[in-house]
């Protein structure tokens, strides 16, 4: 099988040789390293055998000296087939055009892959690259990796390092992001601690500063909790960076409502799918009629990038848009379901409001008014209400004026 394939690609010639002693032809072939096979005697002085094309040429040179004559009985294989096609210029031109097209297209960037980004999105990087002239369809050889990298670092300050490697029609963009400097706590800066929420203080732990409230006090949002102005023996007053954790009981009243009658979508089962190709930044529609006959419809778009079996992504994406027709249908929601849905929603909202805090008790009340269900959540929570702020100019002024009592 393998031998036959090799013979087919190299091209074989069936030779008919005339010689008074046909065995002589065999010996001459063997002596001159001409491979032959299928040696067959067809007459008393005539034999036929197969040789490669190169062997046939060699044999032709030897025939006269060896005293025998040869002729080509048959020829087969790829070289002869191609030789027959040599005058078909259009075919040849097509081949050249195709090779040129493949070569030219491989010089353009068809795919950009960004890797190494953690907080920056690939889109941000791609957009910045696009502004610098590197995008899908840009000419590969003109992309100067170094210049692009320099410009990109200026454009996106969050980048620490970037490399743009263009390999054929694919550009790999490798990035490393700058690590933010950790925020250094300035312990000398005058800071006050105030309440961000109203509540009743349950426990306090003051790390620095002087507390102005005590456990059990009721505070309003914005009230001062711990002051950064401390008494000093030397100068009367000094400022510190007040730090404290203050946990307080807080109360919330949240409500949400929903109409029980609502329109629902009932899909009729009629669908229309449109397919388009995204190629080199452009869109090629594979349909003629772009109108949609449905009055109410949902549109679903799926984008699929074509890949080769080797895993290489092709610069072509198939976009499928499916339009599903539906009829608006009046439907009534069950009261219990609606209530449960609203309760869940309210609890989720509360959890967002209190952050790290915990919910100590909850109570729901529901009212139905004119087909609209309203659910109210009353909750008691325990949460950290202290936050830091710098001194106001007045506070600074106050801290600078020496204590009158002490001065006297």
């Amino acid at each position: 099988m393998m031998k036959r394939a090799v013979n087919f690609f190299l091209g074989t010639v069936r030779v008919r040789a005339e010689c008074p002693y046909p065995e002589r032809v065999m010996n001459i072939c063997a002596l001159n390293n001409i491979a032959f096979w299928d040696y067959e005697r067809v007459g008393p002085t005539t034999v036929e055998f197969s040789v490669f094309q190169t062997g046939y040429r060699k044999l032709g040179e030897l025939a006269e000296r060896g005293g025998f004559s040869i002729e080509r009985a048959r020829k087969s294989g790829v070289p002869f087939f191609l030789w027959r096609l040599r005058r078909r210029y259009a075919l040849l031109a097509g081949l050249i055009v195709m090779l040129l097209a493949v070569w030219t297209l491989s010089l353009f960037v068809w795919e950009i892959e960004v890797s190494g980004n953690e907080t920056l999105s690939a889109r941000e990087i791609l957009e910045a690259l696009d502004e610098l002239g590197v995008g899908i369809g840009s000419f590969g050889p003109t992309i100067s990796s170094e210049a692009i990298a320099n410009d990109m670092l200026l454009k996106i300050p969050k980048l620490q390092w970037i490399a743009v490697n263009v390999r054929g029609s694919r550009a790999d963009v490798l990035v490393r992001e700058r690590i933010d400097k950790p925020e250094i706590l300035d312990k000398t800066e005058p800071i006050m601690v105030y309440a961000v929420k109203s509540g009743v203080i349950k426990r306090m732990s003051v790390l620095e500063g002087k507390s102005v409230v005590k456990v059990g006090d009721t505070v309003q949002a914005g009230d001062l909790l711990v002051t950064g102005i401390m008494d000093s023996i030397a100068s009367g007053k000094r400022t510190v960076h007040a730090m404290a954790e203050v946990w307080a009981r807080t109360w919330y009243d949240l409500s949400a409502s929903v109409p029980l009658r609502m329109t629902e979508k009932r899909f009729t089962g009629r669908e229309k799918t449109k397919t388009a190709l995204f190629f080199a930044g452009g869109r090629v529609n594979l349909y003629f009629n772009s109108g949609i006959a449905f009055t109410n419809y949902d549109k679903m778009t799926t984008v699929k990038k074509l890949t080769l079996p080797t895993g290489n992504v092709l610069p072509i994406a198939v976009v499928r848009e499916t339009y599903r027709e539906y009829e608006p249908l009046e439907a009534e929601m069950a009261l219990l379901d609606a209530e449960r849905m609203l309760q869940k929603r309210l609890l989720a909202r509360l959890a967002r409001l209190i952050g790290d805090g915990e919910i100590t008790s909850t109570r729901f009340t529901s009212t139905l008014n004119g087909g609209v269900l309203t659910v109210t959540l009353s909750a008691e929570c325990l949460e950290q209400i202290a936050a830091e702020r710098p001194f106001t100019p007045e506070e600074l002024q106050q801290a600078r004026t020496p204590d009158e009592k002490k001065a006297n």
Partner: protein, 91 residues
């Protein structure tokens, strides 16, 4: 003189255990069953037919008789014959 020399060569081959096909110009035959015959150090084909192949072995002439005999491969030194070999004669 020639007879004597021949004797020396043959004796040297026996004494020194030398490869005979190289020193004395004798063909070396490797027969696989009765279907394949590998010949080294041949000097060409004298007669070729599907029932008889005569090979020049230098100092000997080999005659192979059989059925469907054919030369599967051949070079200046070696030769492979396939077919059903019935007898090998030396002349």
């Amino acid at each position: 003189m020639k007879e004597r020399r021949k004797g020396i060569v043959t004796r040297a081959i026996d004494v020194f255990d030398l490869p005979g096909e190289v020193i004395a110009g004798l063909p070396k035959l490797t027969l696989v069953g009765n279907s394949r015959l590998h010949i080294e150090c041949h000097k060409g084909i004298l007669e070729y037919d599907s029932s008889l192949i005569a090979i020049n072995g230098g100092k000997l002439i080999l005659k192979l008789r059989g059925e469907n005999l054919e030369v599967a491969a051949m070079s200046a030194e070696e030769m492979l014959i396939r077919g059903t070999i019935l007898s090998i004669e030396f002349e």
